[in-house]
Amino acid sequence: MPPGKDALPPGGRWARISRPVRSKAKKFLAWLFSGKSEKASHLLILPASFWLSFFLVIPIVLLLVLSLAQRGPYGTVIWHPTLDNFRRAFTPLYIPIVARTLLYCGAAAVICLLLGYPTAYFLSFYAGEWRDTFLILLMIPFWTSALVSIYSWIIILGRDGLMNSVLTGIGLLHTPLDVLNTPFSVILGLVYFYLPFMILPLYSSLEKIPKQYMEASYDLGAGAFQTFLKVTLPLSLPGVFAGFILTFVPCLGDFLTAEFLGGPRTYLIGNLIENQFLMAQDWPFGAALTAVLLGAMLVGLYYYQKLEAAEIA
């Protein structure tokens, strides 16, 4: 077959199998990002890993070692290995606190889910071109210090605050409700502060779902609600779990909310730990409590990670 007019001389141009010379640095970068060798990909994760081990693990370990020590006078620490702190952590005295914490945080997470899901749904399917804006609007309220929002909530929830005056105003109530410093206000606070961490994962898993699935379901006779129940919801479960973890876990450690919006009977694990490190000056015990909490959370995280893996696969 005769080569055309502007054809290339066969073989001739092989002088230039183009191998632009690359500097050592570039060669290294290329290797690093190639993932060809196991080393490279570990090396890419190394900075993050280093960061975590340096700023998180070592400090925590230092602290956890404390949990084996003993408390001395005036909150000094005596290096005399013992498990007393752990025994103490499991005394019945704290069972109600643990139960309460699980209850509040669970409730908060669930409410976040209930409130957040429709919003995430809206964002992923109906927000259209305004989607990004809405997403950012989700973040902005948290650029004002939490305390300011807390004060606002105090003003809203207070005995003669907005909520009561409105409710009484429209005649729903005769006597104003005392909601401040009650479980209600604490859970409300938790919900408010952790909502975005529920919505974002929900959103990202919802908007991955192809519209076709829903159309197929409509087509087979499922109404909007059944479609949601049988198709959309199941397909968004990874997001649901992720969101649940991302709200529930931080709630466990939270103590400011309970401190400002809570009452004498809304004492949570977070407060207990904080109290050991501050007022009670009993760091070993605080550390022990932390260790227990971390252990418990690690289990949760394990499932979170498994779900993520499932999502990737």
Binding site: R71, G72, P73, Y74, G75, T76, L93, Y94, I97, Y151, I154, I155, G158, R159, D160, G161, D178, L180, N181, F260, G262, G263, P264, R265, Y267, N271, L272, N275, F277, L278, M279, A280, Q281, D282
Partner: protein
């Protein structure tokens, strides 16, 4: 240390626990820069110091902290004769139980623990600590969130000496406090004043200055020292160990206890000044206010916090922790 040469002092204190232009004036006069760092809670401040935060030169700490600070070796004694104006300090505040030989502390401001209340909601002035246990005010009562005030008062109400070490006494105190919990709105050492103002709370175990300061803008608020008596507490200036600016720090302390300056501070934050030389410069209103400077009759019912042996101090804290957890 290169930094040491710079003339500056790192002052660690409550925010706005000092008059507005005190420090600027000091810097102007001496050319010493004062870095005013703030904490929201003494316990946090203490935790921060004990885990080794470096660089602070001067802190303000309440009396009950002093033993801890000493025990953990976080503060230095004042060099003898380093301060000119210590003479002006009211003898009442010298040789206190927590610092018998005035080595570690220079009193900054003082106040009392009592009952703050909102006249609008309370028909008759509360007179006794027992009013804080009055079921009439269920859900309208707030208590300070710390061991020494609550446990201390509870002991006092049970008629036990502060220094008691009988378990029975502490049990009793604990029971007393726990029995109060159902009546309580909150434990709080900071936002209780807000609660008083907006009527969330009618009665609150309170610190004199907080209430009086707030009363300036909400005349409904008032403060009493119950008839059973109460405690005096003192905030003190202490030298942080390993401070690099000792000389400058001492100058600052000396400056802060000059009568004029001390008075200015007291006038601003509405606490009592332990400084005799300050009397002339104090506002009339403040000076005449029995809530700030109680009449002798009341004064004799007031006591300093005793300095407790470590294990006893621990018992207080444990008692309190159990109350909170209950």
């Amino acid at each position: 240390a290169g930094e040491g040469d710079k003339h500056e002092v790192n002052f660690f204190n409550w925010s706005t626990y000092i008059a507005k232009d005190t420090l600027p004036r000091f810097s102007l006069e001496t050319g010493i820069v004062v870095n005013y760092s703030v904490f929201s809670d003494e316990e946090e401040m203490f935790a921060k110091l004990r885990s080794g935060a470096l660089g602070y030169d001067l802190i303000v700490a309440t009396d009950y902290m002093i033993p801890r600070l000493k025990a953990l070796n976080l503060i230095d004694p004042y060099p003898t004769g380093a301060l000119k104006n210590t003479g002006d300090i009211d003898p009442k505040f010298r040789n206190t139980p927590y610092d018998p030989d005035n080595a570690y502390t220079v009193p900054y401001l003082w106040g009392t623990t009592g009952i703050g209340f909102n006249k609008k909601h309370i028909s008759k002035r509360p007179t006794s600590w027992w009013d804080l246990w009055d079921p009439k005010y269920k859900g309208k009562i707030s208590m300070l969130d710390n061991a020494r005030d609550c446990v201390g008062i509870a002991l006092l109400m049970k008629g036990c000496p502060q220094t008691t070490d009988s378990d029975a006494a502490f049990k009793a105190a604990e029971q007393l406090l726990i029995s109060q919990k159902p009546l309580l709105k909150q434990y709080s050492s900071s936002t209780y004043v807000d609660s008083l103002i907006n009527g969330e709370v009618y009665l609150a175990m309170a610190w004199s200055g907080d209430v009086i300061q707030a009363a300036r803008e909400n005349p409904e608020l008032d403060y009493v020292i119950p008839k059973e008596g109460s405690y005096i507490w003192v905030d003190n200036m202490c030298l942080v160990k390993g401070s690099r600016h000792r000389a400058d720090t001492l100058r600052l302390v000396d400056y802060l206890i000059e009568g004029k300056v001390a008075a200015e501070i007291a006038n601003f934050v509405r606490y009592g000044s332990p400084n005799a030389a300050a009397k002339p410069y104090l506002d009339k209103s403040l000076l005449d206010d029995p809530r700030v400077f109680p009449p002798p009759s009341v004064l004799k019912k007031l006591q300093f916090y005793a300095i407790l042996p470590p294990d006893l101090a621990q018992t207080w804290i444990d008692t309190w922790s159990d109350v909170k957890a209950a």
